[in-house]
């Protein structure tokens, strides 16, 4: 009886750990997105400071490609929106994962209690 519980405990523990890893991955991805967000904001502002006389280039690989100022502005805005959307997505994902991990935690604790009880009983029997 105790062994069965122990096995269950182990499996639950593994699941929980996996979940934790996912959570941390999502977290780091989200942080990266946030950095990009701030950067793109600055780019947008600086593009605003320029006028159409300046040529704007975009670095694609090793090549600097000429871009139109307005096009650049549009691209940057689109990118910004995209980033925002991504962040939202990650947010929801993170919340979901948090909830699941909480559930797992509860399960784990109850299993642990059961296990200890079983241990106690075993000791008592012996």
């Amino acid at each position: 009886m105790a062994e069965a519980i122990q096995k269950k405990l182990q499996s639950e523990l593994e699941k929980y750990q996996q979940l934790q890893k996912d959570v941390s991955k999502s977290m780091s991805a989200r942080q990266k997105l946030e950095a990009q967000l701030t950067e793109n904001n600055i780019v947008k502002e600086e593009l605003g400071l320029l006028d159409s006389q300046n040529t704007v280039y975009k670095l694609i690989g090793p090549v600097l490609v000429k871009q139109d100022l307005d096009e650049a502005k549009a691209t940057v805005s689109k990118r910004l929106e995209y980033i925002n959307g991504e962040i939202q997505r990650y947010e929801t994902l993170l919340k979901e994962m948090e909830r699941k991990s909480e559930q797992h935690r509860e399960v784990l604790s109850s299993l642990q209690q059961e296990y200890q009880r079983a241990q106690g009983q075993a000791v008592g029997k012996v």
């Binding site: 793109n40 600055i42 600086e46 593009l47 280039y57 670095l59 694609i60 871009q67 940057v76």
Partner: protein
């Protein structure tokens, strides 16, 4: 827990600090860049040494000094003039400044938190009501009276440990010299165990009896022992010795530690608060005097003083002159230590104020029914008591008890027969004694009015009472016996 919080907060603060440093560097870089941008378009071209790989330079020219390709971020570039670049840099600097300000705010908040937790910790943990009271014991070589008794019950080890813990918790600590437990011989060990047991019993007795005071030899001695014993380390042979009638004997130095301090009259407190170990330390020193003599408790007895009492006597003589007989003057005494009590209670013998050894005993045996406390002395005592109010602390009383105890032991048994009809209020608690000759205690036992008289007096009460170790008797039993 506070420590953990503090740690975390400090970590955050450290992190903030490093980030602030980083951003400050960035700001400085932008500043110098701006300077360069301002000077760059001054000339059409510059002669420079162009870096050629990592190890070489090559003379060259810097041209188009106003055309700059600026990285806007996220792989976007823009060709601008120097002035426009300058504007861009300015814009970025604004961002950096904002970040810096935020970091500073965070750091300040966390710093405040850290300080607060620090203060809180200091407040709660440091002071409190605890002070480390230490007593350094210097001499251990004093000769003690009494033989070490053979322990009769060899099974009291656990009690000893209990006592050890109990007494270690007590405030008074003696120096490390006192804590010699390892080297006791077996017999001494038994004696020690026995003592500890007795101590425990005495403690229990004491709790049963009047709560305000512990009277009587045993409790006195036990209280003394408890006071003196450091973690119950040394054998409290004092009690035994008292009972055995002060047969002096030499005991090993380990025992002498406490025994040496035992015969003292009083304790003097030298309170030096030292700020050590986070706890204020009060250094407590016994002025242990080896009591070689007894103090006059009556006209019949020899008059010997211990040094202290002599000093006191002298002090008293200086103080007062023409004091009334034996009655303590109702002067404005301020009793702050047990010594003061002795100063107060002074017998006038031959016109001279003589400190009396036992406050509760009457001066003259003739006056009193019993040589010890009982009637007259108690009467006097009560008078005095009224005068003083109950300004005596438990300690004081115990001390008086102690001295009484000591005195009584040595008092010659050839005292006038106590039997008398004068039964006055007995102002003291009666310590339980053995179911010994009933003649002993009843004569002068009255319902105790005040619980500060050592019941040693009871011993002497009984006519020709053998010098038996007094057994404690509860006051109720005493009353009963008395009434019978």
């Amino acid at each position: 827990m506070l420590l953990d919080m503090l740690y975390i907060v400090l970590l955050v603060v450290k992190d903030c600090r490093s980030q602030i440093e980083h951003w400050k560097k960035v700001e400085n870089d932008y500043e110098s860049l701006q300077d360069r941008l301002r000077t760059l378009p001054d000339k059409l071209s510059y002669d420079i040494m162009v870096p050629f790989g990592p190890l070489a330079f090559m003379p060259g020219k810097l041209v188009h000094t106003n055309e700059l390709t600026v990285l806007l971020g996220d792989n976007w570039f823009a060709k601008c003039s120097a002035k426009q670049a300058d504007a861009l840099v300015e814009h970025r600097k604004k961002h950096v400044k904002n970040t810096l300000d935020d970091l500073q705010k965070v750091m300040k908040n966390f710093q405040n938190r850290a300080d607060f937790t620090d203060d809180l910790e200091k407040l709660t943990g440091d002071t409190g009501d605890f002070a480390d009271i230490r007593e350094e014991v210097i001499n251990e070589e004093e000769v003690t009276k009494g033989k070490p008794r053979l322990a009769l019950k060899p099974n009291s080890k656990p009690k000893q440990e209990y006592l050890l813990e109990l007494e270690e918790d007590k405030e008074k600590k003696e120096g490390d010299e006192e804590r010699t437990t390892g080297v006791l011989s077996e017999e001494e060990l038994w004696a020690r165990l026995d003592e500890l047991e007795r101590q425990e019993e005495l403690q229990d007795e004491r709790y049963r009896l009047d709560s305000t005071d512990t009277n009587g030899e045993d409790t006195t001695s036990s209280s003394e022992e408890e006071k003196e014993a450091d973690g119950g380390s040394d054998v409290q042979v004092n009690g035994h010795q008292k009972e055995n009638g002060w047969v002096p004997s030499s005991i090993t130095s380990q025992m002498n530690g406490t025994n040496g301090s035992h015969p003292e009259d009083e304790e003097e407190e030298d309170c030096n608060e030292e700020a050590g170990n986070g706890l204020p330390t009060i250094y407590f020193s016994h002025t242990a005097e080896f009591k070689k003599v007894r103090i006059n408790t009556g006209k019949n007895t020899t008059l010997k003083f211990s040094e202290r009492n002599e000093q006191k006597a002298q002090a008293k003589r200086k103080k007062k002159s023409g004091k009334s007989n034996g009655h303590s003057p109702h002067e404005s005494y301020k009793i702050t230590s047990p010594a003061d009590i002795y100063r107060v209670f002074v017998d006038l013998v031959n016109g001279e104020p003589i400190p009396r050894k036992s406050i509760l005993k009457s001066r003259s045996r003739e006056n009193s029914v019993c040589s010890d406390t009982s009637e007259s002395s108690t009467a006097d005592f009560e008078e005095r008591r009224a005068a003083f109010g109950r300004s005596w602390s438990h300690d004081d009383a115990t001390h008086s008890d102690t001295s009484d105890g000591i005195t009584e032991e040595e008092s010659p048994t050839g005292t006038s027969p106590r039997t008398n009809g004068r039964f006055e209020a007995f102002t003291g608690t009666v310590i339980e004694k053995d179911p010994l000759p009933c003649s002993i205690p009843h004569l002068t036992i009255a319902p105790p009015a005040l619980p500060t008289i050592p019941e040693r007096k009871l011993e002497e009460v009984g006519p020709e009472a053998p010098q038996e170790p007094p057994k404690r008797m509860s006051k109720f039993k005493a009353t009963r016996l008395h009434q019978k």
